[in-house]
Symmetry: C2
Subunit: 152 residues, 2 copies
């Protein structure tokens, strides 16, 4: 927790911590990364879940049904205004869920996901998650076409 960190670095660290907690299946650490306020989450293909109870329950469900999961984050873009940060990133996911007959978690595992994560700086200076929204990339990305108009 270096004091020399910029806001951008601190937010990137908080963003990484989110994915590492999911990778480790560490629900307790994950809970500490979220605000106590009205939080919300959208997992890829899921409806919106609001409130800490629903958010944590959804992660517990995901962890319980995921044998392993690993995130390779690319295109991490961080915008900080005051005590709020909006992070967009691409989650390149390697994962394997338990064989589920009900198929509930089918759309969640594997493939390419884009995420928007909103963080809020709290009193102790740390950045806590306010909202996570992940969604599957269904259409061909224009960046795959080498189009020049897609800037950074």
């Amino acid at each position: 927790m270096s004091r020399a960190r910029t806001d951008i670095e601190a937010v990137e660290e908080a963003n990484t911590a989110l994915y590492e907690a999911v990778e480790r299946g560490d629900l307790e650490t994950l809970g500490g990364l979220w605000l106590d306020a009205e939080v919300s989450v959208v997992h890829p293909g899921w409806p919106v879940l609001t409130g800490r109870g629903e958010v944590m329950r959804s992660y517990a469900l995901i962890m319980a049904n995921t044998e392993y999961i690993q995130f390779f984050l690319t295109n991490v873009e961080i915008s900080v205004i005051g005590d709020t940060a909006v992070v967009s990133c691409t989650e390149n996911i390697l994962s394997g869920g338990q064989a589920e007959e009900d198929g509930d978690l089918g759309p969640l595992v594997g493939g390419l996901v884009v995420a928007t994560n909103v963080f809020r700086r709290v009193e102790d200076g740390s950045w806590k998650l306010w909202s996570h929204h992940g969604s599957p990339v269904l259409v061909e990305g224009e960046d795959d076409d080498g189009s020049e108009e897609l800037g950074a």
Copy 2:
């Protein structure tokens, strides 16, 4: 612009204005609803687009390829902390796009979309969009199962 509005009411109005501008195909009004800062957008099934240029270009493309579109917003949840607001909502969309042979806009039109919209209060007191992330609902919503654990 009543002075008696609460923050929640003002944010809801800004959120509604976003969808009305898209319904009308009014790109100029839409542009005025977004921050001048580093904005980002994820349309359903699309990769992340960052920066005002890319965001506006994406809406111009959507408008050019959409004959009509109408949003019925449900489950609008608004969380305000300081000068930032996170809005989650369900977009029940009635739309018709132009027949496209390349199919670029296929995943965009129709169906059920969940959105997370981040707003920032600017100097004149109005709320401007910082980020919009919309994604298709692919799995059966738990709220359709009548499960009691899904709170408001």
